[in-house]
Amino acid sequence: MGTLNILVSVCLIYVAFLFLVAFAAERAAMRGNGGWLRSPLVYTLSLSIYCTAWTFYGAVGYAARSGLEYLTIYIGPTLVMLGWWWILRKLVRIGRTQRVTSIADMISSRYGKSNLLAVGVTILAVIGTTPYIALQLQSVTVSFEVFSDAYDATMPSGGQESNALLVAAGLALFTIVFGTRNLDVNERHHGVVMAIAVEAVVKLFALLAVGVFVVWGIGGGVSDILQRIDTSKIGTWQIEGDRWATLIFLSAAAFLCLPRMFQVMVVENDNEDHLRTASWAFPAYLMVMSLFVVPIAVVGLDLLPAGSNPDFFVLTVPLATGNDTLAMLSFLGGFSSATSMVIVAALALSTMVSNHIVMPIWLNTSLGGATVSGDVRNVVLLSRRISIAAVVTLGYLYYRISGGGTALASIGLISFAGVAQFLPVLIGGIFWRGATRPGAFSGLTVGFVIWAYTLLLPSFGGGLISDSLVANGPFGIGWLRPQAFFGITGMDPLVHAVFWSILLNAMTFFAVSLIGFPSPVERLQGAQFVNVFDHSTTLQGWSGDMVQSEDLMIMAQRILGAREAQALFEREAKRQGVTGVLPEPSPEFLQVLERELSGSVGVATAHAMVEQIVGGTSVSVEDLMAVADETAQIMEHSSQLEAKSQELSRTARQLRQANEKLTQISEQKDAFLSQVSHELRTPMTSIRAFSEILRDTEKLSAAEQTKYSTIIHDEALRLTRLLDDLLDLSVLENGQVSLNVQTGKLEALLDHAVATALTGSGSDSLRVLRQRGEERIALRTDLDRLSQVFINLIGNAQKYCDAEHPELRIDVEMSDGRVVVDFIDNGSGISKEDQAVVFEKFARVGVQRASGAGLGLAICREIMTRLGGSVSYLPGQGGAAFRVSLPDDGKMVPQ
């Protein structure tokens, strides 16, 4: 019994050490220097709670019975971890952005924050996990027994149950102390995580030590051990393909869905980047954990008498070879495996039970709901503690009732198959926006009923479900036999159960989701979950007009604690720019508050509490838009972009045109100025020269004097005319001209124009041909200005017509209701290049025979524009031809 006493004291020291580690970690975290607590290594080690006592002790037993089949339990999680980019990354991101506190919280949050669904998931998780906790308690007590009586490992003795009770109580205490120290808004427990990381190292070290001892201490090295393996009864590959594939799938699914795995992987994660390291480090851990299992099993089978329980070879092999220290280490490894699993499982389950069952009931039963006085914090903590105690007690009771027999050993896979029912709902929820709450609910129900019917109940033997039912089906219906659906026999019961439960679960989930229509909140949450990498920010809003901030403050203080709540409210008030402590109950603030609260009491409860005070949620038009049709949004967005870019290019084109015009105008202005100065200088030079001659030359004859004076006079006239023209043009161009509208006849107007233009020249200088019959049209316009145009055109013909007998034909016709007057001479016309510029200022065509300044046609054009008509060159008429179109309203009915 001396060994046993040492064992007990080592065990107590170890437990004390764990308490110390957890306590130190909590203190370091509270002081804010707990950075090292949250390293990728600690995260990876915390995942090792996957390796429970069932895998620590049981794997060897499993290997001794079924060869390499135990590897499937590790291969599934390895594939999930290596495939982190597919699923885990998304789960962790969603868990962080939505402040998810458990897998039940996750599922309920995804499906419209439905508490009913959360309750369902919680109950199922408890059903699936309780036997597992019982299994851990059994392993600890049996390993105690093994130690106390090294020669009879299988026989239970009287002290076993009290041992189990002690262990259960110790674990509950540890979980309560470090799992419910405070209501952490992040639901993270530094002490617990640190303790299980230490335990992960211990169990790995213990198993490695036993393995190394077996391979190099008992065996003769690697090749010898491999030889022993091949000659043993598990020396050949005997695993059926269906079990191999199904078990890999099952362990992968369970790894994602086990409440305790979800707790360490998603809830306790505080840096997404840790996942990157764990993606390869945890598979490495699993590989090392499973490396020495077969050697230990084979050596145990060789070494120990037939009939020894292979489940405890890890312990009995060192004991049988008299290696007590190694056996002690091995015991601590198993103890670590069991305790860390129970602690985290109890923590995860208690969070679920407290948030989804106890708190809603308490909120409903206490009159006045969330606003009554009293500290909700204490209620939450108390309900957590009671839940932890209840979960562990449940495990203990299960252990007592089941008798701790071999039935427990097989419960591991049954439990896996149970929690794997969450998989379709979980994966569908984060990848498929069409998944709905009724779909999730019915899928889960179908999956669990089939699981219970085909796997759980038959596992109890003849107790709960009769053998005849298993053999013949209910009411003799062979198609419904629990282990042979559709009458197809011969399938492995586990494979059969997993296949049908998961398949029918997924199909029901899918089909019901297809026909249903989700509520707005559900659709919003669906979009949030599925597109978590696109927009991780918005939640649906509260309509907070009628909310009293004081009420919210009272509620928040009771859940978060007075100091934290006040800090939160003050921060929000500052952000809103409100003086004082109470912020406006804006939808944004209510969102923040709900999220903070959900860290403590879960999403569904926090939602319900805020709802009690606020009265209702509002789904804004924007929110609906976000859900309604993403494709339409994207299309709208891209078409908006397209329109904008078109608009931009249009504007750019306009700007370019404007710029060109400005440049052109500037050039024109420069050219105009230089031309004006040139035009002014020529007559000025003549005037100056001849006036100097008149002044300085003394003996000028009268004829000469007259001649020079005439030149001066002519040049002065030309200057005056030029200036008049310039002035006229400037007035016309600026639009300052005032029209003097009169009524008159075209015939008279032309008579006047011809007479004026030809004044002072011989009657033979230009012969004017007219059609007086056509000219009898009454006009209503500025007759003076029109006559100015006519005079100019006739004058041009007189000046520039180079024919021997110059003729000008004036044609008048009505075209399209407009009066058109053509002036056509019989000269050589205007060349094509000159036609383009003939209306420009200072444009003069051909030889400078005449004294014009080149402004005449420019003025004509301006006048006609002002009058609403036009003047243009008419090519192809034999000579120079100009067409004057009179404005519409310029003519009156022909008389």
């Binding site: 390895t78 495939g83 982190w84 980019w85 050949t236 890999i248």
Partner: protein, 88 residues
């Protein structure tokens, strides 16, 4: 390559990162296929695979997957992951 304009270099880096993620996505697929190989092994008496050979194969696959996963995970950090926050 380094003489190229910076923008082109960045594009190339981005491209590399995408392919790296493709690789990361495919690792579990390769793993699943390799570990499905035992399905092809016969369980008939006399034609069975020796357990030691099976151990060597399965653990070799395991070791290779962990090694590749490690290299890829580290490469992803060196590639300056924009979405994940690295600590150091």
């Amino acid at each position: 390559m380094n003489e190229r304009p910076k923008r082109v270099f960045l594009e190339r880096q981005n491209y590399r990162r995408r392919r790296l993620i493709d690789f990361i996505r495919m690792v579990p697929v390769f793993g699943a296929i390799l570990w499905a190989v035992p399905l092809l092994w016969s369980t008939e008496e006399g034609r069975q695979v020796a357990t030691s050979d099976a151990i060597v194969f399965i653990f070799f696959v395991w070791f290779a997957l962990v090694g590749v996963g490690c290299v890829l995970a580290r490469a992803l950090r060196d590639g300056n992951d924009g979405s994940a926050r690295t600590q150091d």
